[in-house]
Symmetry: C2
Subunit: 438 residues, 2 copies
């Protein structure tokens, strides 16, 4: 038997605790598959007392995770502390500087500092693996870094936040408001007390930034993402979408265009008969469009201790399988960090696609003709038009729903400004972009 | 720059030709990602003349693929000859015996001789990789061997044959017969002139046998699979399924049960709102149910030169990434071949699940009561009952459609024998098993 892979585990929260349990409870099957044991030799967490039962004679406690990261007794440092700066970043840098391998589930750290950490890892010869950082149990990182190695990727998109998908699913099932479904999600532990990081799209943006870099060989760029959350979506939108053959999902989308790479997070209409439309509840999904495969689609659990720990342990196992003092050459972001292209932002105004538009208009003669004129002036042609009194429209108002053929963001925005200025709307217009599978 | 990975390529058909083109046309991006070139140094194919333009000074032609497999000039032998015995098997054995790595897309070879080849590879220290052998461009082999390493798997199922999925999709879209849609598939090149290997389920069975071994750590067992093809499915079945909220797919299913492992290939009703139900045309899909992830689902292209070559090149790239005279320990079938458990067959009669039953009954009084009595006698309770005159029933006949709650194969078979013996049926009863996502 080859010597054990010696693991230093920093962070014993939900994910860290699950990793600990997996490595212990499943030790025989993991050892059989890896041909050597995966052994935790050191741990560090905020406070020692709740974990004192874990500390057998083979496991050393470290008050300071940086000491653990620096220890010569470990082969790999597992960072499950979290946070984009501070302790997590310090430890990971220490470990990489010492040539240690690092496994992390920290999407914020990678979205902010991924390129500099990748350069450090690649210079020092350690691996930086992060299967758990995006879409939990869905192995999208290894799919992009390994399975799709020969593919030129043109688009990657997905449902990357389970909280939002749960809320949108429940809004559709119950014809309920965003705030009611958010409360339910909070009660069930699917949403945080302060839900804004999830529901305003920032969590999705972090994950998208990582996927974009992997897909397009560009530097990670978290600050150049167009972000809209889901708090503005109403049950009326979901109902109208369903009637027109769509479902509404919060997607992160990265797309290679002529002007650059579009990175956007927003509520999106997807065809009701697409695979991604069936992804309900807290599940996640990722689709990759490429020259050789057309579209590859994956769905599964996006969060939770077990699913995330499953991904962390797969990263550890892949390290354990390397033998004979060998090494595996694996650029962190698919291409060598020194070769990543600067991120060139695609102009959001140039975004091309279909749009769903819901207008609350005063119920008077000529309103629809006026709306139609503004669309025509902007060369927007329409796939569907629905006009009728609807329960959710205000007294004396009617709802007009338009689905456009392919047009541009700037045309739609110009048209909506003109329609608003015409004074026919009783409320702010709603606009939701449409995304179609390959 | 590290030395090139030296590749011997045997077989220059659709897939072999696509691998050749990919390795040449995408050499810069592959070299960048692997940190070393992937270089074809030897080729072999049935006849040299059609490929003479490929043979530059850096590529040696071998009339005999076994000579190529034995050559000390190659690091990895790529077998794209096909066939479960004969030349393909000989070459792969030669290469493995010499300690060479082998990459193959040959599902038949692995389904028949996988365990003995795995033992040989593991004894001699070469890798045997076969991402392309199952579900084409869907990376299900690496998902099972690597990503799900910590998971106890309870079920794996999927759409593993694009020909059948195309035919079933078209039957539903056009309300057309099996034979008309088969002819169309043949015209479009999606079905062979002799389609029986595909439409009778044998191709699916080969792939399923490989997935079963990977999922359950059991020896590959291709002869113990229950197989029904799709030639018996009518447009009436598809229409009735749709009305009841189901779609019909040819699935391969492997399931751990109390009596053993069920391996079955048959037309299957899946809920219309499941992700797998949306997989249409020649696409494939695989779902894996496990303790940590619940269900992981993948869909994508199952065949074709580009998709298959994409998988072959990913196997080659993973070999190219190994450095410093290292090696990667990777049991061929996830667990070491010497430790694979003997396959213990689950009894088909003990299969538990829901069933769709379509009966063509004479249109006379008491028929339905008699059918209902036979179901009750066998403790089969019903989820849906539809009885009405239908166009496709014979003159003087009516169609009765039943969907059962969970019951057993033996109960359904006993009930159908009794119903048939009652003499009320004008035609053989149709029975289709129902499979639900986790």
């Amino acid at each position: 038997m080859v010597d054990a892979l010696r693991i230093g585990l920093a962070g014993l929260g939900t994910v860290g605790g699950a990793v600990w349990r997996l490595l212990n409870e499943k030790a025989p099957m993991l050892t059989e598959q890896c041909g050597r044991p995966l052994q935790i030799v050191g741990v560090s967490a905020r406070s020692k007392s709740p974990h004192s039962d874990l500390l057998t004679s083979t496991v050393t406690w470290y008050d300071n995770p940086s000491e653990l990261a620096r220890s010569k007794d470990i082969d790999v440092f597992v960072e499950l502390i979290g946070g984009e700066d501070g302790v997590a970043k310090d430890c990971v840098e220490v470990a990489l500087r010492e040539g240690r391998h690092v496994v992390t589930a920290n999407k914020a750290l990678l979205a902010r500092h991924g390129v500099s950490l990748a350069k450090l890892a690649e210079r020092k010869g350690g691996s930086l693996n992060f299967e758990a950082a995006v879409a939990g149990g869905i192995p999208i990182i290894s799919v992009l870094r390994e399975s799709l190695i020969a593919n030129d990727i043109s688009r990657v998109y997905g449902i990357l936040n389970g909280t939002c998908n749960y809320i949108l699913t429940r809004m559709g099932e119950e014809n309920a408001s965003f705030s009611d479904c958010l409360s339910e999600a909070q009660r069930l532990g699917y949403a945080e007390a302060d839900p804004s990081f999830d529901v305003e799209g920032h969590d999705t943006a972090h994950k998208l930034a990582i996927l974009t870099s992997l897909a397009f060989g560009s530097a990670v760029s978290i600050d150049d993402i167009y972000i809209e959350g889901i708090s503005n979506i109403s049950a009326a939108d979901i109902k109208a979408a369903a009637e027109l053959g769509y479902k509404i999902k919060l997607l992160g989308v990265a797309l290679q265009t002529e002007t650059g790479i579009e990175q956007r997070v927003h509520p999106t209409m997807v065809p009701a008969d697409s695979t991604i439309a069936q992804v309900v509840g807290v599940s996640n999904a990722v689709a990759v469009q490429s020259d050789l495969l057309g579209e590859l689609f994956l769905s599964g659990p996006g969060a939770g201790g077990c699913a995330t720990a499953s991904a962390v342990v797969s990263d550890l196992s892949n390290l354990a399988k390397v033998r004979l003092n060998g090494a595996v050459y694996q650029p962190v972001f698919r291409f060598p960090a020194s070769e990543l292209k600067p991120y060139k932002k695609g102009r959001m105004r140039a975004h091309a696609g279909g749009y769903f538009i819901r207008l609350s208009a005063y119920d008077k003669a000529g309103v629809f003709a006026s709306v139609a004129k503004r669309m025509a002036e902007n060369n927007i042609s329409l796939e569907s038009i629905v006009q009728r009194p609807m329960a959710e429209a205000a007294e004396g108002a009617k709802t007009i729903i338009l689905v456009t053929h392919q047009t541009t963001e700037s045309a739609v925005r110009r048209a909506l400004v003109a329609i608003t200025e015409d004074g026919n709307l009783s409320d702010k217009p709603q606009m939701i972009r449409i995304e179609r599978p390959a």
